[in-house]
Every structure is written in structure tokens, then in C-alpha cells.
Amino acid sequence: MSNAAHHHDQDDLRLLRKSVRTLLERAGGAARARKIRDKDGAWDSPVMLELAKAGVFGAVVPEEAGGLGMGLSAAGIIAEEVGRVIAPEPVVASVGLAIGLLRRLCPEHALLAETLAGTTVLATAWQERDVKGLSNTLSCRFENSALTGTKSWVAGVTAASAILVVAEADGGPALALIEPCGKGVSIDKRRQSDGSIMAELHLSEAPAELLAKGPVVNAALAAAVSDTTALTAAELVGVSAKALEITLDYTKTREQFDKPIGSFQVIQHRAVDMHIMQQLAEASVRDALGLMDAAEAPRLRARQASRAKARACTTARKITREAIQLHGAIGYTDELDIGLYLNRALVLSAWLGDDVYHRRLWLRARNAEEAAR
């Protein structure tokens, strides 16, 4: 890329970051996350609409389809900002999964435009559970225009207007749409450490609209999951960035033995290690998103997504745990915001796989690439 083009892109990204940050700060910052946690674990509909107006949901969608056409790098910037204020809106799930599936499978459907406008919020139910945990096969079926089966780990369901469901139809994969309050739909809400809801969806002949079927569904799902994994990594980068800032400020002001605790070398060196991990995670996740923007091959994109999530999880774990320790006893209380960051990191790490899981995937992808060469 030429220097001028590089600067142009960097300027656009900077402006995007600034506008999303301002919007989320004005909406109430991290304090809003606490308020909603103590209410119902949903989100603010007006904020969803404002985010939509700022173009957030269309970051990756091409301009001719009503988006910003700025790619995953831009969506990553947005995700970082969401992470910084632990915003409760399901931004990454919408951009990565729901919009990721719709724009690839049925770009003409009115749902896409509504979701981009923020008037419709879609949850996506694609995973299933078996006795060991995450299942590798689909047992939920689409038959006679209805869905039957159980879906697990459905994020962003609390105030969703509709739910996208990946199911099996005529021996192949399919994408169908259901109403959350429709007949035959029962939602088992599981409260997460950050107050949000991860749902189990029990479907018994629930009327559904078929949106797409066949191998294209699997391809679109794989691509959408890679995107969402990498964007969750970016959200975690935002979470740890802010947790680190809060902690550094605290060590500069909290005094013991008549000195700020940040003047003790043992604290300083631990703070530096957190800082290095944070810088490394930022560079790595942004690099991965850039590479994903430039690549088509699913295996390559999946490998970069795993690389990003692995680094972001390791970093967020280290930083949010150290943050509590460096705050001392007050860090273990619910009075300060720092605990909200720990709790969000727990949820985002577990969702779509933690660092150990993704390092395994990454190595498998790397070895497959080496073997193919």
C-alpha cells in the first residue's frame, strides 16, 4: 500500500473510532453497563439506533448494499470501543453473525436493511450441546416449515426481534428465521458473569421461515464465525485496554507507606508486563483483521481468527486478574468498575472458544497449510 493510501485509511479509522467513542461515552460509559446488569441484562434500544445511524452495523457491508464497506479492520475498531465501555449492546454478534450470515446468504432480504438500520435486532442460534459440551453435529431439524431441536449458547437473545437458526433440512444445512415469542419456542435464559444472557433455545415444531439452504450455508457460517471470533478478540482488546488504564491510574493515586503504590518497583514491573501484553495483543489482533480483509481462503481466515482470539483471551485474562490484585481489597468489591471488566472478560473469553481452544485450532490450521505446501 502506498504511504498516502495508508494515511488515508488510518485517518478514516481514527475518525470512526472517535465518533463511536463519543457516542458510547455520551450514552453513559461503563456506568450504563452496571445499570443494565442490575436490571434485565438486555440493552438500550435508543443506543442501538444511534449506533446504527453511525454506520456501525454496516462497517463490513459493501457501500452498494448500504454499508460503510470499510472491512473487518474498521469493525475491529468499533469492537474495541464497545469493549472499552463494556457496552451491553450485541454489536459483535450482530455484525459478525447475523449480518455476516444475511449479507452472504440473502442480501436482498428486507431483514438485512432493517438490521443495518438498528430497527431489527437478530440473535443467531448456531451451536448445539452434547454430553461432552460443544457438539460437532446438527440435530435441530427444519421440516414442514417448522423447527424442532435445541440450540445452545445463543447470545443477544434478551431483546431480539427475531432469531436466526442454523438447522438441518433435507440432509443439508439450512438457515431459518423464528419469532422469539412464537409458538413452540421456549427460551432458557442463563445469566452470565457480566449480567448478560446466554440462552438455550428449545424448539418444538416452531413455525419458521426458510432463508437459505445447501452447502452455501456452511460456507457462510464458517466465514461469519471466523469474523465474529476475530471481532470478539478486538472487543477483548478494548476491555483489557481500559482495565489497564484504570489500574495504572489507581496505582498512581493510591498511597501506602506514604507513597503512591505505583512507585514500588514490584508494582512497576508488573504494570509494564501488562502494558507489553496489551500492546502485543493490539498489534496482533489488528494485524489478523487486516490479513482477513486481504484473504479469501477460509482456512487462512480461520487461522488468523484463532490467532487473534488466542492472544486476546490470554491478554485479557492476565490483565483483568492482575487489575484486581493491584487494586487490593477494594478491587474485590462491586463498588469499583474494575470488576465489571473482569466479568466481561470471562464471558467474552468463553464465548466462541478460549485461548487454549484456539491455539489448538491455530496449530492444526498451520500444520495443514505446511502439509499442503
Binding site: K252, P260, S263, H269, L280, S284, R286, D287, W362
Partner: protein, 383 residues
């Protein structure tokens, strides 16, 4: 005179690569020890004839005059092909200092001799009581007529036993108000009765390091570079470009390659516990490269590097050590065996890699010192 900066990056890279691949002697590739000059003399002659001894020096002084972007490419290709750094203290350290602070006479005298390796330089900074706390140095230089008379001791002087000259920091004003003041930068010929060199055997069984003793050693006053008592700030000003190289990914990348060939040969990838740890260090290396690229881009845009560049050194050296620990672990009962271990088609010298990794967290400002720098200059922590 070719202006390399006018070439496209790709063309320049091709040119450099081709030269190394056709001209560099196979037996000197990826040397695990620091060679004496005699061992690499033929290669140095070729490089000198080509005018490529000093990539960073301005062309008016016989350098290649490369800008930051081209310089990075040059070094990347050098590392990729396993080209020895050579006896480059003159080119890397003294030369730039003379170019920046020296007199015309000093430039005319010393620079050509550095390029031709007629003079081979070593660096006299550290002392027994001045390691991380370098400003605590005590070796003193007293003016006696037209000469400095030097007394004291330097240590960890790399390759002093194969050098003709030493550039050193010496105390010239013991009464200066702070210990950083009152230090001067002087050039001293080593072939004189007042200079004695003793090699130090390292844990790796090598003798790259030396002690240098000064007992009424002499050097003409005209060998002072820059102003008297201003050596500290001058020496520090040199550390610009160097700081990104000390954090470059190559050492860890090479070690990872060795670990991988060993592990493949020994079937270690069948062990899920090994796989997990391998993936961890491999990603530590890959992600470091992304951070390194950020600083490299900064240099390419012509922006100066800030103190945050210390991060690179900390991360890459500690990763390097983690990799070599994993190599020892993978070697199992062979983990204590010196020399190359044969596995499958590969031979990997596990302990050589391990020993090579140890001093990296100590030299160039120990990682603890780097953390102090980051804590104060970047995180702005108090005290």
C-alpha cells in the same frame, strides 16, 4: 555512486538477496559463534569492494547511505541468509559517533580504516562496578601534556582479544556534580604495554568476552571525540536505530525453526501437551512480529522511536528463552548433551541455542532496566 533509496523496495531487496546468495560463503552461514576477523576476512574484502560495509553511513563517508526503509530490508536479508554481522563495532558504534561529533581530521583518519577493517574496534563501556548502572564507571583518563593517561578496568568487552582499538567511556572529571557528567568518549590503540586483555570463558564454553586492564595506558588528546566531559550524552544519542534491532524477531524465529525440526524428527507433535506449548511460543513469535512491524513502519516513515521500543526487546528475548527451554524439554534425556543432536534428517544443537538465549535478557540494558525505563518514560509511574 548508486542511490539505493531511489530503487523500489522490491528491486532493492532482490539486489541484496542476490548478492548474499551468490557471494556469501556457505560455511559461514548461520554461525553460532562470533568469528575472529581472520575467519571472515575474505568475505569482508568482497563486501568492502562492493561498498557495502556500512549500510547506514552517508555515501560521502563511504557508506551505502540507506534510508530507514532500505536499511531494514538490508538487515532482514542479512538475517534471512544467516550472514554474519562481522566485526562491526567500528561501523555500528564508533563510525556514526565520529560522523556526528568528530572533527574533519578524525573523519579523514578513522572512517576509511573502519571500512577496510585496518582498525578493528571493541567497545569499552561496562566495568566491574558499572553494569546496569553504567554511569558509575571509574576508569579514569587524566591529561598529561598532549596525552590522556588511562587507568582502570573494562569488562564484558566483546572480542577485545581480536581488536586493534577500543573506544571507551572514561571519567575525566571526578568532581563533576553528577556521575553522568565528567565522562568522556576517547579512542585508544590497544597495541601498547599499558593495555592488557584477558579472555573470559562463558557458560557456553566460548571466549567472546574479555576484561581489559589499563595501567598508565596512553592515547593522544586528539583522540577525544566530541567535547571533554560530554561523552555520556553522546554515547546515549547513538542508541536510536540500535534499539529496534535488539528487539528484532530473528533470534526467536530461528530458534523456533530449530525447535520445530527437532520436534518433528523426534515425533513430539504426537504429544498434545507439547503441541499446546509449541503453539504458545509460535504465536508469541508471530504476534511479536506484528508489534515489531509497527515500530519498523514508524522508522520507515522517518519518525523517531520513543522509549516504548524497549517492549520489543523484553518480549523477544524472553520468548527466545522460552523456546530454548522447550527444546531442552523436547530433548528429554538428551537435554544435557553438548553438540548437535541428530533427529531424523535434522541435527539440532539444543544447548547451543539455550546458552545463546541466556545473555539476551542481560545485554543491551537488562530486561529489568528496560522495565524501569518503560515504567517511568511510557507508563509515567511515580518515583
Amino acid at each position: 555512486m548508486i542511490d539505493y533509496n531511489e530503487m523500489s523496495d522490491a528491486d532493492f531487496r532482490r539486489k541484496v538477496r542476490q548478492f548474499f546468495e551468490t557471494e556469501y560463503p556457505e560455511k559461514l552461514r548461520h554461525l553460532s559463534h562470533r568469528p575472529k576477523f581472520a575467519e571472515i576476512e575474505d568475505w569482508h574484502r568482497k563486501l568492502h569492494a562492493k561498498g557495502w560495509v556500512a549500510p547506514a553511513w552517508p555515501s560521502e563517508y563511504g557508506g551505502m547511505g540507506l534510508n530507514a526503509a532500505k536499511l531494514l530490508i538490508f538487515y532482514e536479508e542479512q538475517q534471512r541468509w544467516g550472514v554474519v554481522r562481522g566485526r562491526d563495532m567500528g561501523v555500528q558504534m564508533v563510525g556514526p559517533l565520529i560522523i556526528r561529533f568528530g572533527t574533519d581530521a578524525q573523519k579523514a583518519h578513522w572512517l576509511p580504516r573502519i571500512l577496510s577493517c585496518e582498525d578493528i574496534w571493541c567497545q569499552g563501556y561496562s566495568e566491574p562496578g558499572a553494569g546496569s548502572d553504567l554511569a558509575n564507571l571509574r576508569t579514569n583518563a587524566v591529561i598529561d601534556g598532549e596525552e590522556f593517561v588511562i587507568n582502570g578496568q573494562k569488562i564484558w568487552t566483546t572480542m577485545a582479544h581480536d581488536s586493534t582499538h577500543i573506544f571507551m567511556l572514561a571519567r575525566t572529571d571526578p568532581k563533576a556534580p553528577t556521575k553522568q557528567q565528567g565522562i568522556s568518549f576517547i579512542l585508544v590503540p590497544m597495541d601498547q604495554p599499558g593495555v592488557k586483555v584477558r579472555t573470559i570463558a562463558t557458560l557456553a564454553g566460548e571466549t567472546e568476552f574479555c576484561e581489559v586492564f589499563f595501567d598508565d595506558a596512553r592515547t593522544p588528546c586528539e583522540n577525544l571525540v566530541g567535547e571533554l566531559n560530554k561523552g555520556w550524552t553522546m554515547a546515549k544519542s547513538l542508541l536510536g536505530f540500535e534499539r529496534v534491532f535488539i528487539g528484532a524477531p530473528n533470534l526467536a524465529q530461528n530458534a523456533l525453526g530449530q525447535l520445530e525440526s527437532y520436534a518433528r524428527g523426534a515425533g513430539r507433535f504426537d504429544d498434545p501437551a507439547f503441541c499446546e506449548r509449541f503453539a504458545e511460543v509460535a504465536l508469541d513469535v508471530e504476534d511479536h512480529a506484528a508489534l515489531y512491524a509497527r515500530f519498523a513502519d514508524q522508522l520507515k516513515r522517518g519518525e523517531p522511536l520513543g522509549p516504548d521500543v524497549s517492549m520489543l526487546k523484553i518480549w523477544v528475548t524472553e520468548t527466545f528463552q522460552k523456546i530454548t527451554e522447550l527444546m531442552i524439554e523436547a530433548a528429554g534425556p538428551d537435554g544435557g548433551t553438548l553438540g548437535p543432536l541428530q533427529v531424523g534428517n535434522a541435527a539440532v544443537d539444543v544447548l547451543a541455542a539455550f546458552y545463546k538465549a541466556r545473555p539476551t535478557t542481560i545485554y543491551g540494558g537488562s530486561n529489568e532496566i528496560q522495565r524501569n525505563i518503560l515504567s517511568k518514560a511510557v507508563l509515567r509511574l511515580p518515583g
